[in-house]
Amino acid sequence: MPLSLAPGRHGGVRYQRRQEVDFVIVGSGSAGGILARELSVAGFSVVVLEQGLYRRAEDFEHHDDFATMVKTPDRALTGSLDDDPQTFRASEHEVAAKATGGPVANYARTVGGSSAHFTGNFWRLRPLDFKERSLLGDIPGTGFADWPIAYQELEPYYTKVDWEIGVSGEPGPFDPPRSRPYPLPPLPVKSSGVLFEKGCRALGLHPQAAPMAILSRNYNGRRRCYHCGFCLGFGCEFGAKSSTLFTTIPEAEATGRCEIRTGATACRVPTDDDGRVTGVAYFDSDGREHLQRARAVVLSANGAETSRLLLMSESSRFPHGLANSSGLVGKYLMFNGGSSARAVFDEPLNEFKSVQVTRIAMDFYETDPERGFYGGGGIDGRWIDFPVTFGLGGLPPDAPRWGARYKRMLGEYFNYTMDMTTHATSLPVASNNVTLDPTHKDVYGRPGIRITYRDHDDDLATMRFLRDRGAEVLEAAGARRVWKQPVRPQTSTAHLLGTCRMGDDPAASVVDRYHRAHDVPNLFICDGSSMVSSSRGQPTMTIMALAFRAGEHIARFASQGDI
């Protein structure tokens, strides 16, 4: 199905395809959108290839909870599994099954990538996340490792994200050091936040305002959140969600040096006789293949798509895929663990209003050897349903599913229910990975993404542990009833992390500490794939900070002729 592009929406320059530009960036998401600005502001010519459409705030439709999509009639934000199939299996001994109930690797194919529709929980990593392997020792059977950089090195870039992307919040008791306060106060608390806070305090925990990439006040020429309530999975009609779509991408275009080329699906990164990349080959929306030539290439297509592209770019010189002499491209995929409990209260919470989350607690962030397993995370009070989804599965598991009592309970629960969700570590395991599916192909003939994944037992134990603590919080908050959702191995994800990890050792990582591919001097990779450990379940603040940092270093290399 061809994409209907909207010509004239693009604010930037248009380059001739024949013309060699300084940089081609693949993907305009959380990382790509920032790199586009950093490199174009630094004076370089940039073409961003984005497979999705250019949707703007006015294209996002309010509260269509089926669709969670935009008026543009062609496609849902997450794309079509018919056009681009994905497959899943729990181990490499299985034949992967084609996904039908929704994507396995779930991300938005649109300008801004998944930052266009994310929930906006923006947690920094803490110093310990960068050196947990040294602190805790080896975990046999995993690729548990330290990062090549420390928190202090990333801190200025976290601050850039706060101020340039727009994060609302206030410091909590366990927060890592910060060089500047939040630019915006927290969003107004919701009843789920108040009850979460009450339960936490009763148990001696330390609730804090949730840091969110959503504007609590008008900021940098953008409008604040109007609390429409259709947030998780929706693009924001007000532009209040701090997506690259509303921030760095227009700034990149305003330089007059950056083109966002939409409907452009990258299919190969070719190399010359010296083993340097020469540009990026892509299909336009009519299925015609083109090559955009460039002096250097940056891949920011996310942890699944970047791996796919590298594996598809194999050649006699790079027989296992481009930049893959380590064999680690696509490996160590991390989903982040997640689990939840739900509770119903006596008074109306009206959780269908405003953003998903307003309070979190970080008391269980660190690994505690007493628990007997690796892992930790954060918990939050929130809401995750909309009318249709609540009708389908919002009531407790023992509730009637039809009939007069079902109907009555819907009314008794819809406005009285909240969730407690957990966000947890995933261990890097080599058998969890992205590979090319041998059977299923997309409309352009590219092999589909095949994901092989089973949560490590410690990850499952962490999910159960956090869920049980969260259920205690709901009890302590005075819930009329609490029920726990079962913890099962995950079969899909919106967090695509670790598949081209950074590191100093070319045998044990794909990119170096500046995101340059160990094997290819003019190829850079920066997105969720760069992460060495998983974070505690909210990786995007870090992905954006990495992109700001990478942009600065790549621009420096380019100016020094060191690419």
């Binding site: 269509d64 909870d65 089926f66 669709a67 969670t68 849902a76 997450t78 039908t100 109930g101 929704g102 994507p103 206030e170 909590g172 107004p188 608390v189 919701k190 009843s191 936040g193 108040v194 009850l195 806070e197 305090r201 804090q208 109007y226 609390h227 429409c228 998780l232 997640g338 939840s340 008074e347 109306p348 919470l349 009206n350 959780e351 269908f352 209003k353 405003s354 349903d385 249709v388 989804t389 609540f390 009708g391 389908l392 919002g394 039809w402 009939g403 007069a404 079902y406 109907k407 819907l410 009314g411 819809f414 406005n415 957990t422 099962r488 995950q490 899909s492 994800t493 919106a494 967090h495």
Partner: protein, 210 residues
């Protein structure tokens, strides 16, 4: 399933699919077709135009089932919300592949009606012809008997399909045709406004501050 922020996985909001095999994620992907079907449903209902996929017999029977899934009580239910037209349009478009299964399910249900009828009311029932003229239709039974029969098929592929269509149609945007006069939203207590100001809920004022 995946992070609470990452949609998917056991995220209940993508669950609820059941045997009919379609949760929110699936729906999101189908939305364009779905939207077109829904608009047609509305127009069809408004103009009294002919059914798009069902016979009028099938329409009556499916609507009767939906009317027990979300019944009229002290407030209107799925039938009043326009679910019949919604289901008809669904089978004409995005759930067309399921129409044969729905037809099979309907005749199996009717066979149950006949068998139950002959057991309960031996006089006059023709047990050799379970779908025959002598048996009442499901839609003609008392609500109690309808509910008894539906309890027996709950969990079957057919029941889950009709439940899914009924719930989705009743709680989706009214523009999709099955939530007329916001009947579905009023069942939930969902208030449809574009923007909100705090306080949002009854507990908001009790904060001690983060």
């Amino acid at each position: 399933m995946k992070s609470r922020d990452g949609l998917t996985h056991s995220r209940r909001w993508f669950l609820g699919a059941g045997a009919a095999g379609a949760g929110g994620a699936w729906l999101a992907l189908q939305a364009p077709v779905f939207r077109a079907a829904a608009l047609q449903a509305r127009e069809a209902a408004a103009s009294g135009s002919p059914l798009a996929s069902l016979t009028s017999h099938e329409f009556t029977e499916l609507e009767a089932i939906a009317a027990r899934i979300i019944p009229e009580t002290d407030t209107p239910g799925a039938r009043e919300a326009g679910i019949g037209r919604f289901i008809d349009q669904a089978f004409a478009s995005f759930r067309a592949p399921d129409l044969p299964a729905a037809r099979r399910g309907l005749s199996e249900l009717q066979a149950l009606v006949a068998a139950a009828g002959s057991a309960g009311e031996p006089a006059g029932a023709d047990t050799t012809d379970p779908g025959g003229n002598n048996a009442p239709l499901f839609s003609e039974l008392s609500q109690q008997r309808q509910d008894d029969l539906l309890s027996r098929i709950e969990g079957s592929e057919f029941f889950e399909l009709v439940r899914w269509l009924t719930v989705v149609g009743t709680f989706a945007l009214p523009s999709y045709g099955g939530n007329q006069d916001q009947i579905g939203w009023r069942i939930l207590g969902f208030d449809d406004r574009h923007t909100w100001v705090p306080p949002f809920g009854a507990y908001d004022g009790e904060t001690e501050g983060g």
